[in-house]
């Protein structure tokens, strides 16, 4: 049984190779292998549902063992990885049809899945970093599948991701230099044994790496381009899983490597939580609010979702950074929930793009009549995303709010609440401009997406409901994980939280049942009234004018333009522009620097003379040689 952790890890890689080779035979072979092996991974994963494995030695490197392990938290993230990847594979069967290089695409998709699985299963920093690097460059290859523009986006991504990985590498090397072991448990033990000022540097360097991947605010600039230009299924993997891996990294960093008490020791306590964690919380808070504002003003559906991802991952990071049991649980739970609803939204928007070929919000509209399933999926997605009961996004956000309140981190709480309110604006924009309003004439013949593409939408919509009404399902895993890392889990039951200790109570089943009852009452009143009859979308109030087919009688461009007037002055400068300015000046500097290779022979030979005479000068300075 122990060996099968290796089997679990190798399954997606094998699947990738097989589907690549199978694709050379026939495309159906490719799909079969890809779906089969990714489902197999999921099935294998369920063998470990309640069975942590601590130590599975892969090999020995640099005098430190490379091990695989699985604990409830890594199980949770592995579950996210495998599920979303499986759905993405199913979704892209139809979505990617007709593009070139599909064998390679599936290969990459499964390799990325395997690499992310490897990250969650890693039991030491070396394994972790190994898979991290594999993940970064394979996911780069996925991003650039989306056509010409995506290449530029991918370039940005890979550069930032290399920077992040490298800063992580420095941190790992510093740990290795300090204690000569890289296994998580030993590292935690030894770090705690001898706190030192450089540990803060280690922490910061790690955090940079994770911030890039998780897209926390100052290092988020790759996200909006990469998510929007990549193929839809890739975007959902990126947003649903890749960001979560960054969050997982942060979790490991905070709780498996350093621990709250050590962090408290490293910097004197002045804030509600250890200074470092509080700082991370502020980064998260700022990314929640700022990216919400940016999302509100987007015209591009996928860009909107991309900024929304930054904002939502801010909640995850914020939750993790609070440091209390409730906060951690909230953060982890939100990671799961965000994976579900954000992938769902990327799938539905992907479905819209698949049928209409555009992701410009102002060109779309009225698709509800043509694509009801997609609409339903989007509806569930946005309700969950906005954190409105009774769906899952609400529960985890609520936990984070409560945790913040408990810790009296009120300013962060304000940011979190405001971000959530702001998200109503953009989710409404998203669903309104795509599905509601006027159906443009050119999309008259649009059909619902094929069944294979509906499957992920159905399943994920179900997920938003299930985890919304029965949060205890997820809390089972999270609580066990918290126990594993030595955090006392909060009280919970299947339907919610009994509360206590400064924390409010929540019972999701009551909310949803009363809501349904209210709906029934409203329906009764509605049904008592006269029968309605459907009218055409052009039969509309237009202040006396007649709306004809060629009229664009729709409000969708610049939806929140007036809001833009309020916030635009603030967004004149952005992190992206600053980075670009740095890059430009570095470029100029480098261009000057390389002028040292003048192409002149005499200059080159003079370098030699100068070097030797410098040595000679040094010797002469000393006066004598012998």
């Amino acid at each position: 049984m122990n060996m099968s952790l290796m089997v679990l890890l190798l399954t997606p890689f094998t699947g990738g190779i097989l589907s690549y080779l199978g694709g050379k035979i026939h495309r159906s072979v490719r799909y079969t292998f890809a779906i089969l092996f990714s489902s197999l991974t999921l099935v294998e994963l369920f063998f470990y549902y309640n069975k942590p494995v601590n130590h599975f030695v892969l090999g020995k490197m640099f005098g430190s063992v490379m091990i695989l392990q699985i604990n409830p938290i890594s199980w949770l993230f592995a579950f996210i990885v495998t599920t979303i990847s499986l759905l993405a594979i199913i979704f892209s069967v139809n979505d990617m049809e007709g593009r070139g290089g599909l064998d390679f695409y599936y290969f990459e998709l499964m390799v990325v899945e395997g690499a992310m699985l490897g990250i969650t299963l890693a039991g030491d920093l070396l394994t972790f970093f190994l898979f991290w690097e594999i993940m970064s460059w394979t996911s780069y290859l996925l991003i650039i599948q989306g056509g010409n523009k995506s290449i530029k986006a991918g370039y940005k991504y890979i550069i930032m991701s290399i920077i992040g990985a490298n800063s992580m590498l420095i941190a790992i090397a510093m740990i290795y230099g300090k204690i000569h072991t890289l296994v998580f448990r030993n590292v935690a033990m030894l770090l705690a044994a001898s706190p030192h000022g450089f540990d803060i540097a280690i922490f910061v360097l790690f955090a940079i790496g994770f911030f890039v991947e998780a897209a926390v605010m100052p290092l988020h600039t790759w996200v909006s381009d990469a998510y929007s230009e990549a193929p839809s299924s890739v975007s959902s993997v990126l947003s649903g899983v890749l960001e979560k891996i960054g969050a997982y990294g942060l979790f490991v960093l905070l709780y498996a490597l350093f621990g709250v008490s050590l962090l408290g020791k490293l910097m004197p306590l002045r804030f509600p939580s250890p200074t470092i964690m509080y700082t991370i919380g502020w980064f998260a808070g700022i990314s929640i609010v700022v990216s919400t504002f940016l999302a509100i003003l987007q015209e591009d559906a996928k860009k909107l979702l991309a900024y929304s991802s930054i904002s939502q991952i801010g909640y995850v990071v914020l939750g993790i950074s609070i440091g209390t049991s409730l906060g951690v649980a909230g953060g982890l739970f939100h990671a799961l929930n965000h994976a579900i609803f954000k992938s769902l939204l990327f799938f539905t928007i992907g479905a819209v793009i698949y049928r209409t070929g555009t992701r410009n919000l102002s060109e779309l509209g009225g698709l509800i009549k043509k694509m009801p399933v997609t609409f339903t999926g989007t509806l569930f997605g946005i309700i969950a995303l906005a954190g409105v009961p009774p769906l899952n996004g609400f529960v985890s956000k609520w936990m984070i709010y409560e945790a913040l309140l408990q810790k009296k981190e009120v300013f962060l709480l304000i940011l979190a609440l405001i971000g959530s309110t702001g998200s109503f604006l953009y989710v409404y924009r998203l669903i309104h401009s795509t599905f509601l309003g006027q159906l443009p004439e050119k999309f008259k013949d649009v059909k619902e997406v094929p069944f294979l593409m509906q499957i992920p939408i159905w399943l994920l919509s179900l997920g938003t409901i299930v985890f919304g009404i029965w949060p205890g399902l997820a809390m089972n895993v999270i609580a066990r994980g918290e126990k594993f890392f030595g955090i006392t889990p909060i009280k919970y039951n299947l339907y919610g939280f009994p509360g206590g200790n400064g924390m409010g109570s929540l019972k999701m089943i009551n909310i949803s049942s009363v809501f349904i009852a209210g709906l029934i009452v409203a329906y009764i009143i509605f049904a008592l009234g006269a029968k309605t009859h459907r009218i055409s979308q052009y039969d509309n109030y237009a202040a006396g004018q007649v709306v004809t087919k060629d009229t664009k009688y729709n409000y969708s461009y610049g939806f929140y333009m007036f809001f833009g007037r309020v916030v635009n002055p603030v967004f004149k400068w952005s992190a992206d522009k600053i980075y670009l300015a740095w890059a430009r000046s570095a470029n100029v500097f480098g261009d000057y620097m390389r002028r040292i290779y003048t192409g002149n022979l005499e200059t080159y030979s003079s370098y030699i003379v100068v070097i030797i005479s410098l040595v000679g000068f040094l010797i002469l300075l000393g006066g004598k040689i012998w």
Binding site: P389, G504, K507, A517, A522, F526, T532, Y541, F559, R565
Partner: protein
């Protein structure tokens, strides 16, 4: 059990009754301020009955129908989480923070329905409504947080209990109460924040396409809405009440003040409204919050 069923049936009726009476008062008082005679006090009820009993009605699609229903259902949901004198109701299932989001469901349903109607006036109205909500939410959450911090609980019923005996939050946290009062204007869409439904600009905004029983449902919803806002403020800042009568009186006084200002103020442009909310109310609310933080 019987009591529970009675509450389940009675509470919505009570809330509706209170709400509809205030709607009547508003029209009457407003008319008197403008030196008109005004419609009869029960005119809103008559309107609702008229609308519901219309013989023909149009529909733009399922979500168009569903929108008002969701709005009404959500309002009914909400009232069960706002304690009335002597009853905890379901406050144990959702605390104040949850309540904030439960209250949003209605707007979402409303927005969906209005969006489906394919009328740009509705869309603009919803866009304004959401933006306005974003605007007043910032001071509002700060106010809520200061109250929660002050009373060390997130349970609305417990907050009400803590204010028993005249220790109203209004007196303890005057600045927060003032901001809360300003926020109610936005939440209820009263002047100067009635840009959402501004009939002269966007033809009553979200409701532009609605008529017949749909509009009837929305009227009922509005009655609930009035009740919710007022009851919430009373529970938060005015210490609830010992019996229904007092509760009603407190709500009425509050409502009276709101209506007086409502009738004499002009209208903010939407971005000015947001700017307004993010400036003074926010600063005042933050001041209050800091006072709470320091004072413990």
């Amino acid at each position: 059990m019987v009591k529970n069923i009675l509450i389940a049936i009675g509470l919505p009726l009570l809330a509706f009754g209170i709400g509809i009476s205030f709607m009547g008062f508003k029209r009457k008082i407003g008319a008197r301020i403008q030196r008109r005679y005004g419609p009869p006090f029960h005119q809103p009820l008559l309107d609702i009955i008229k609308l519901l009993s219309k013989k023909s009605d149009i529909s733009h699609g399922i979500i168009y129908d569903l929108g008002p229903m969701i709005a009404l259902g959500a309002s009914i949901l909400t009232i069960f989480f706002i304690p009335i004198p002597g009853l905890k109701l379901l406050t144990g299932s959702a605390d104040v923070i949850a309540l904030l989001y439960i209250m949003v469901i209605g707007s979402l349903g409303m927005g969906l329905g209005a969006g489906e109607s394919a009328n740009p006036n509705s869309s603009i109205g919803i866009a304004r409504a959401l933006t306005l909500m974003f605007g007043y939410d910032l001071p509002f959450v700060i106010v809520i947080i200061s109250v929660l911090l002050k009373y060390h609980t997130t349970n609305l019923y417990a907050i009400t209990q803590a204010q028993a005996g005249g220790h109203w939050a209004m007196w303890v946290l005057p600045l927060s109460a003032i901001v809360g009062f300003i926020v109610i204007y936005g939440a209820m869409g009263e002047h100067p924040f009635d840009v959402v439904t501004a009939p002269h600009e966007v033809a009553t905004g979200p409701m532009a396409e609605y008529g017949g029983k749909h509009l009837g449902l929305l009227f009922i919803d509005h009655a609930f809405h009035v009740y919710i806002e007022l009851a919430l403020f009373v529970d938060l800042f005015m210490g609830g009440a010992s019996n229904i009568g007092w509760f009603y009186v407190k709500m009425f006084v509050l409502f009276l003040i709101i209506v007086f200002f409502d009738e004499v103020l002009p209208r903010f442009r939407i971005d000015d409204a947001v700017r307004f909310y993010w400036r003074w109310p926010t600063i005042i609310a933050l001041t209050s919050l800091i006072i709470v933080l320091i004072g413990g």
